[in-house]
Structures are given as C-alpha cells and as structure tokens.
C-alpha cells in the first residue's frame, strides 16, 4: 500500500516511488533537448562540417583557452579556497559572496565588468596599455573571461572538500614539526586532491562553454578570440547544419572531459552486505578524504 514498501532487488533506499516520476521528468528535461539536437544532425555532411577550417580552429582555440583558464583557476582558486575554508578574518563572508557572484551573474554582465576593468578605457586597462599590454581583442581576453566565470566552480568545490576534510590532519602535522608550507604541500593538498580535480574539471567544462562574457569582452575573430560557442552562434546565422554539428562536438567534448575525470562523490566501499558501511576499524572520516 505504502510507497515506501516498493520491492526492489537492492538494499532499502527509503525513496518514495513518486520521487522517481519527478526525477524522470527532470532527467528528460536535460536529455530530451540533447536528443532532439542529435536527431537534427545532418550525418551525411557531419564530417565535412566539423572538420572545416573554421570549426577546427575554433575547437583548437576553445581547448587551448579552456586549459589555460583552468590552470589560472587553480593558481588563483586554491589560495582563495584555503583562505575561505581555513582563514579567519573580517570580511570573509563578503569575500566568499563576491567570489561566488559569477555563478549567478549573467555572463554578459561579467563581460561588461571585465571590459571596464581590462578594456582600453578600463580601470587597469589604461595602465596596462601604457605598459604596452593590450588585452582587448586578444586570446588573453578570452582566458580572462573564462577564468572569471569558471573560478567559482573550483573555489566552491575545493572549499567544500577542505571543510569536509577538516583541519585536524594539519594540526597533527604541525605538532609533528611540519612548518605551514610543508603542511600545505604534504598534507592539505594531497588530502583535497579529489576535490581539486573535480573542481578543475568543472572549471574546464565551464570555460569550454563560456560565451556571453567572451562575446562582450573579447570579441570574435577566427583563431584569436572566436571559441567554439561563438563559432556555433555565428554559424547558426547562415548554416543551421553546421551549428548543430558543432554543438554536438561541444557536447561530446564536455561529456568526455566530465566523464573521464569527474566521477562524482565516492561511496564507501561495499562490504559483504551490499552497500552497508563498515562501522568498526577505520573511522569513516579517514576514508572519505582518500
């Protein structure tokens, strides 16, 4: 009678059956448009469309800039996450809110903000121009725009992992005589490596899909600033088949990247009784941070 009594082959999950219906609707909302797009692909022309010079150039640029911005996210995001998770200073909450802002900001707003910072007339751009550094309309602008939108993904992911891991390993390491630099290198970073990796993958995926901020801030020139999303947007004006084919390429690249390196939250190892947790011996906390 009761939904919870549903017989299932596995262990008891405690999920009412109607949840499955809504979950299926949610899954369909994501999967269906992708399937519809795949159905629209002109397979006969697919290879020529995606291997055209402009397509390959755009794909190559996207991969290069995304890799660069992911690197930049790691360089800037790891200290940010550490400071947010472990530090204690006035304005910490405010800093976190601002770091997370690009998550909820329309990318085009990010583009405008970047323009007024690094543009020729911008806050820093004016000084940079004096130094002979021009960011506008350059690949560097694309990397900046991607880093701007992708940084929160890395910070959020890493800060969460840092908080879960807690500071107790670091405290023990310090009492064993390790100076803070050693603790960071030999304890903290190895402990949070899974969180760092998943954060980096999310950042890469976000960078790969970046469109609005790039369009506003960096412009669009083949081989320099026209990444795959911008190429798709442009192709759509004249050649819907090309746009669909390139979209599929972008989806495939993103799915591959995410699938290869982001395996989601790990479950505890299955014991002799299905997914039942081992409750003795090793404390759970030890395992969750491996």
């Amino acid at each position: 009678m009761k939904a919870g009594q549903r017989r299932s082959p596995g262990a008891y999950t405690g999920i009412p059956s109607w949840i499955y219906v809504v979950a299926a609707a949610g899954g369909l909302l994501v999967v269906l448009p992708l399937a519809a797009m795949v159905a629209k692909v002109n397979w006969a022309q697919f290879i020529p469309l995606v291997t055209s010079e402009s397509s390959l150039t755009a794909l190559g640029l996207s991969l290069r800039t995304s890799a660069a911005s992911t690197l930049l996210c790691i360089v800037l995001g790891v200290p940010l996450a550490l400071v947010l998770a472990r530090g204690s200073f006035p304005g910490q909450r405010l800093l976190r809110s601002f770091v997370l802002l690009p998550l909820v900001l329309p990318p085009v707003v990010g583009g405008i903000a970047l323009l007024y910072t690094f543009g020729r007339q911008g806050l820093l751009g004016r000084s940079l121009e004096v130094l002979g550094i021009q960011i506008a309309f350059s690949t560097a602008a694309v990397v900046l725009a991607q880093t701007f939108v992708a940084l929160p993904f890395l910070v959020v992911s890493l800060e969460g992992t840092l908080r879960t891991a807690g500071g107790r390993y670091e405290a023990v390491a310090a009492t064993l005589g390790a100076r803070p630099g050693t603790v960071l290198r030999r304890v903290t970073l190895p402990l949070v490596l899974p969180g760092l990796a998943s954060g980096a993958v999310l950042s890469f995926a976000r960078s790969l899909g970046e469109f609005g901020a790039t369009l506003t801030f960096a412009g669009s020139l083949q081989g320099v600033t026209r990444t795959l999303p911008l190429e798709i947007y442009l192709q759509r004006e004249t050649d819907a088949d090309a746009a669909v084919a390139l979209s599929l390429v972008l989806v495939a690249v993103a799915v591959t990247v995410v699938a290869v390196s982001y395996r989601g939250p790990r479950r505890p190892p299955a014991g002799p009784f299905g997914s039942e947790r081992r409750t003795t011996a090793v404390p759970a906390r030890d395992r969750s941070v491996q």
Binding site: M1, A25, Q121, A136, Y233, R236
Partner: protein
C-alpha cells in the same frame, strides 16, 4: 497498490495542468476572433522585427494603437535570422519585418508568407568612431591604417556581408580585430572605446548619437541593405496585419523611418500607396 497508482495519476494530471497553465500565459497570435471583419479594427497583433527597427517600430506600434483603439501590438525584436528561425518553428507572429531580403526569402520559399513582401526601407553602412574620433578616421581607407582597431560584423550576418562588399568596392582590405555576430556588438565595442572604428548602419550611428560619431563613405552606396516586411501565413488576423504594413510603408511610417536615418525603399518595388 491501487492507492499508489492513483496518486501517481493525480500527480501526472497535476503536472499536465501546470504545463497547460504555463503555456497559456503566452499571448495568442490574435485576439478576439468575433471582432474581425467588423469595420472597427481590434485585436492583438504580434510583430517580429529586426533589432535595428526597435526605435522606429516601437513608435509606429504606438501610433497604430492610437489610430485603432482596441488593438494591441506586441513587438519582438531580435536578429532577422533568429526571428526567421522562430517563425519557421511555428512562433505565433502576424507580421515579420526583416533587415535583409535573404531571411524574408527563406520564409517565402517555405510558403510562410501571406501575399507579397514589401520593401519599406534601406540602410547603408557608416563608419562609427568613438566620440572625439581618437584615431582620426576620415575615410574608408583610413580603416586599413596599421594600428587602427576596426571591428566589423562577421560575413555570415547581413551587416558583415555589406561590409565585405564595401571593402571590395573601396579596394581596401581591412584587418579587423573582431568580427562580431551582430551590429549591436560592433556598436558596443565602439561606444566603449575598445575599438577605434566600426562598420555599422547609419541608423545605428543616429541611435547612439553623442556616444559615437558617424562618418559616411561613398563606397557604402554599393552595399545598400533593403528591409522587407510581410504578413505571415500563420496569422489569425491578416486584416490587422495588412493595416500595420500599410502604416509602415505609408507616408507616416516613411517619415518616422527617415527621421531615424533609414533610406527610402528602392523605387521600382515601392508600393503604389
């Protein structure tokens, strides 16, 4: 068991209702069908118009509503190819005004146009420079000077195609720092001062008066963009659609368009009115 199934059924029914309610929020293509055919025009008219027409069509729609009490004009502005795609996917529109003949032809070929499209305006390219003209541009040839940052539309969009033919006409090869996918993006880069110059339409320069300066150039005359307008086959209020098109193509409409910097339509296809 039956109890559970009932609950799921109820849930599905509820979500269907919800979906219906949500889709019901969008205004229909036409208003009260009973009102059509009466001498007093009324109802709702949905007009899809190219983004460059935003200022003029907003004014003309208000004018239309004034002259025809009881009518409501709903405007949707976007890139011409976006609008054409939406219409071919069944978007509920009564009138389509395109910034190029190509997208109108696309709909015409798909038999989505009711009657003949009417060319109602032209537009020509101008060089837009930031206020003060920091790079001292005075001719099309100046755009090719080394160090001058020029932004144009990509060749895939109408303004880019026009820019290309202007280049051919002038015999000048531009090395733009960016090829944008819309004329608004080109204008934005000029307004913000990121670019030294951009190729945009004369109407764009007029619309951004004070923020950019326009420099007309003779080569633009060979790359005139023509704006057609047409009623759509899917319209449920074709009479109202025809009335709106008459306003646009008529003398009042033409005056408003001219004020905004549009050129007159090519004489040979100008409607008799």
């Amino acid at each position: 068991m039956t109890f559970r199934r009932l609950r799921i059924a109820a849930l599905l029914a509820a979500s269907t209702l919800l979906a219906a309610a949500v889709s019901g929020c969008a205004p229909g293509p036409s208003g009260n069908p009973a009102a059509s055919g009466t001498p007093q025009r009324s109802g709702t008219l949905t007009v899809f118009a190219a983004a460059s027409l935003k200022a003029t069509f907003t004014r003309l729609a208000a004018e239309f509503e004034n002259r025809n009490p009881g009518t409501t004009v709903t405007l949707s502005f976007a890139g011409s190819s976006d609008l054409a795609t939406q219409i071919s996917q069944g978007a509920p529109a009564d009138v389509f005004a395109s910034a190029d003949t190509r997208n109108m032809a696309r709909l015409s070929d798909a038999a989505l146009i009711h009657g003949q499209a009417v060319n109602f305006a032209t537009n020509v390219l101008e060089i837009a420079v930031p206020a003060g003209n920091p790079a001292s541009i005075s001719s099309f040839a100046d755009l090719a000077r080394p160090g001058v940052k020029v932004v144009v539309c990509a060749s895939q969009v109408p303004c880019g195609a026009a820019a290309e033919s202007a280049e051919r006409e002038a015999g000048t090869v531009l090395k733009p720092v960016s090829e944008e996918s819309s004329v608004a993006d080109v204008l934005g880069k000029v307004v913000s001062g990121e670019a030294d110059a951009g190729l945009v339409y004369a109407t764009d320069v007029k619309g951004a008066r004070g923020k950019v300066e326009g420099i007309p150039f003779p080569e633009a005359g060979k790359a005139v963009t023509t704006y057609p307008i047409a009623a759509l086959e899917g319209s449920r209020n074709k009479e109202l659609a025809a009335a709106f098109i008459s306003l646009v193509a008529g003398s009042d409409g033409q005056k408003t368009l001219a004020d905004a910097g549009f050129g007159a339509p090519p004489a040979e296809v100008r409607p008799s009115q």
